[in-house]
Symmetry: C2
Subunit: 218 residues, 2 copies
DNA sequence: AAAAAATGCGACTATTTATTCGCGTTTGTC
DNA sequence: GACAAACGCGAATAAATAGTCGCATTTTTT
């Protein structure tokens, strides 16, 4: 009877109920704010329900009224980011296919700028994203989103070059996502200037990575 | 009285004592083996001391005889990897400085192959490295090693181009490390063929990243 | 303004995991 | 083979965190 087998098969992660009165909407906001602040403060690991409640000026009971556990709170925060990502990439597949190298590089740059902005605009959420990455219960959910994002990067690549094989597109998608993610997390922890320099680095790497697979008739 | 302030300032992480009899050396080996296997099985999170003891066919008491807590066990495992990394990079700074673009690319390739091998040879330890990354108590220690590795990459870059500014070298070092690490972790989770393809991608990106900063008189 | 519904509370219970400690056993030494 | 040191054990204790529940308060409904 292995310990890793009798783990709770699945824990509830959805919010328990919608607030119906205005005061309780504010309570939910306070819970989310407190969770965000504490996650940022701790830097690593996830805050306890009690800590969240206290920071929000609430009792534990009130927290459990709306969320079944702390994971659900973090996830609620994170979805704002995780949910926004896919559509940004997808939008970039809805443009005419570039045919010259210059046009292609412009397209990379567009995709690149759009995703970059997403990180900048959600900078305050990044500690939550990192906390989720390190949380056994939440990691699987992030993985689902990651799969989705990889698939969209791959779709973008195949939009740019329809002849590209699917497995190759997928591999490149993984690299684009991972490289972009890790560099931007580093960048956001430093100053804006460093972030911008790192962005240039990412763009350079993306272009170098993808160009050989483009089959552009120059 | 902030929760994040009254965290245990520092937890003991060093092994408690050296085994003096042969049987106890084997006990320590069994503890480490069990910890490794469990970490790999769980995929995420760190195993409990009890779980480690049971898996090793020991009692908790025996585990605590040699390690003050589970973090110390994981760290003991991880140091085998973390400790090996620096010297591999350093070795690459002890060669004649390349002066042509071709020679430079050979140097990148050497560094690249050496670090790659390190990942392949320690593939079984990677789950431990990932667990450490997600563990609040161990993360700071990994960060120290990371700093060291970044500094060595930076030193390598300045060996290749002594005119390179220190902050630029450092930034590029961060990117080399992060990009290499994340791609290799992905690669090791897939098959060998994919790993090799990803390696090519990393090499491509490294060269693209670094070349503009080399000031080679071609 | 009375009744009903929703909300908020926090003491209490449950559960999980860490860690110690004294005792019986094995090993090494003289 | 006797004595001491090292070892291994696991029940017991400690500590942290999760999660519940009945009651008090506030808001909405009629």
């Amino acid at each position: 009877m292995n310990r890793s087998l009798n783990r709770k098969t699945k824990i509830a992660l959805e919010p328990r109920k919608q607030p119906r009165q205005e005061r309780s909407s504010k309570v939910v906001d306070r819970i989310l704010d407190a969770a965000l602040i504490l996650t940022r403060e701790q830097g690593t690991g996830t805050p306890t329900t009690l800590a969240i409640a206290q920071r929000a000026g609430l009792s534990v009971g009130s927290v459990y009224q709306y969320y079944p556990n702390k994971e659900a709170i973090l996830l609620d925060l994170a979805r704002r980011w995780l949910g926004a990502f896919p559509e940004v990439i997808e939008k970039r597949t809805r443009v005419p296919r570039p045919t010259t190298r210059a046009a292609f590089q412009r397209e990379v740059r567009e995709l690149f700028i759009d995703t970059s902005r997403l990180y900048l605009e959600n900078a305050s959420l990044m500690p939550v994203i990192e906390a989720i990455t390190g949380n056994p219960d939440l990691r699987p959910i992030q993985n689902e989103y990651d799969e989705q994002i990889i698939a969209l990067y791959a779709a973008w690549l195949r939009h740019v070059n329809p002849a590209l094989q699917e497995d190759v597109a997928n591999r490149l998608g993984v690299v684009m996502m991972e490289v972009g993610h890790v560099c931007r997390l580093v960048g956001l922890k430093k100053d804006r200037r460093t972030f911008d320099l790192l962005e240039d680095d990412v763009e350079t790497m993306w272009i170098a990575l993808v160009t050989p697979y483009l089959d552009l008739n120059e």
